[in-house]
Amino acid sequence: MSIEVRDIRKRFGSHQALDGVSLKVETGSLVALLGPSGSGKTSLLRIIAGLERPDAGQVLFAGEDATRQDARLRRVGFVFQHYALFRHMTVFENVAFGLRVRGRATRPTEGDLRGRVRELLELVQLGWMADRYPSQLSGGQRQRVALARALAVEPRVLLLDEPFGALDARVRRQLRAWLRGLHDKIGLTSVFVTHDQEEALSLAHRVAVLNDGRVEQEGTPEDIACRPATAFVAEFLRPEAVTISA
């Protein structure tokens, strides 16, 4: 399903977090929102998910206005930066949550539910962890549980907030390749937020660079890397070695 945001504005107190952001995400693509902290990328992702309401502007899912729609009705899969796993539930129950809270009419039978959760846990390669609690998992494992949980509700889009931010470098690279593989396999429209330019350029089909609540440039990784449209983008994408010596 495609996502479109039109001229989104959002202010927190005296801080203008988003100042007229417009963006289109095509069906099936994997898009990165790249920018320094405070650039508004997470706010934009939360607005798409319905976790924040914009002060002005529109959010469209498949061309239909969803701006006022409640988060629980949007069918977006949201993966939180710190995973937000339910601490008092096992891995299995975490993944099953979205199915269990459905209304009687659409709730799967216990048997179907178990099958579906098992399937998802296999997909994220954690079938053997079903009875553990989140506190007993490593960071990378928690991340995958959070992903399985988000996928369980058969979301129309997948939104990930700094999906690799809390992981160490080695796990991060592994998980990145795996996520790209997963996306290629299930083809779900996905948007992720990152402050890491290398991550954005190597993983996404398209990248939107945000700064100070505005989109500086939107395009393919190649566009961004080779043809920076603004001085900010050029500066932000400069190789790290230069940043360090500066």
């Binding site: 009705l73 937000a84 796993l85 339910f86 601490r87 979205g98 809270v101 459905r102 949980r149």
Partner: protein, 289 residues
Amino acid sequence: MSAIVAARRAQPLTPPAPSASEDSRPVRLALTGAALVFLGLFLFVPLLAVFAEALSKGGEAWVAAVSEPEARAALWLTLKVAALSVPLVTVFGVAAAWLIARFDFRGRRLLLALIDLPFAVSPVIAGLVFVLLFGRQGLFGPALAEHGVKVIFAVPGIVLATLFVTLPFVARELIPLLESEGRDEEEAARTLGASGLQMFWRVTLPNIRFGLLYGVILANARAMGEFGAVSVVSGHIRGLTNTLPLHVEILYNEYRFQAAFAVASLLAFLAIGTLVAKALLERRIGGSR
């Protein structure tokens, strides 16, 4: 007050003190000894004394004192008042904590101060304000008397005074807890399609259950043990408006010391139970962090 709330959870923890910050052995022994003697004289001896006095005429006298009709009526009333007021302050505490910890709105700080206010007011004044409202010469007194409703010198007044003095307990326990847990899990539940009620029962409540229980236990101890505020509004009508603490007072003032301590020992059991439950819960709350 929040400092107290936070402090009560403090886990005693003693790293092996490095020598530079360590006092000499005699000094340490003297400090520890002085603290223990003080606590012994001030806390342990009184607790012991309650039971010693209660049993000073033997077990039979204790049984007789706690089973006489007036004592039983007082116990029954105390349980009734707690059963009426504790659920109400629990509902209030959860609602107020949710409001304060999850939303930003105008007047939030003022509301927080008002929630704390009953802690700062003398229990006698807490009773007085309800007499001024519902007493015979009170604002609503004449109107209530016309309809034959009795609030002051009756059970409703006792419940109102108890509600006032216990109002902050649950809220004060839950506000810092909800704030420290953040709202991620609740937002996750929403994006997964949970309704407000489902989110509350399946995510919020399980996460705050020990803190909630902690607040409820403290509120209950205060509700059953409150003396000053209840004393003002009860009228001390024996068998009708006497709670256990008031019954203790009456027996004591009649020089029936052993009986007074026998009834007091019931309340001391309540206190010990509260301390034990508190200590156990503090371990659970501390462990989940």
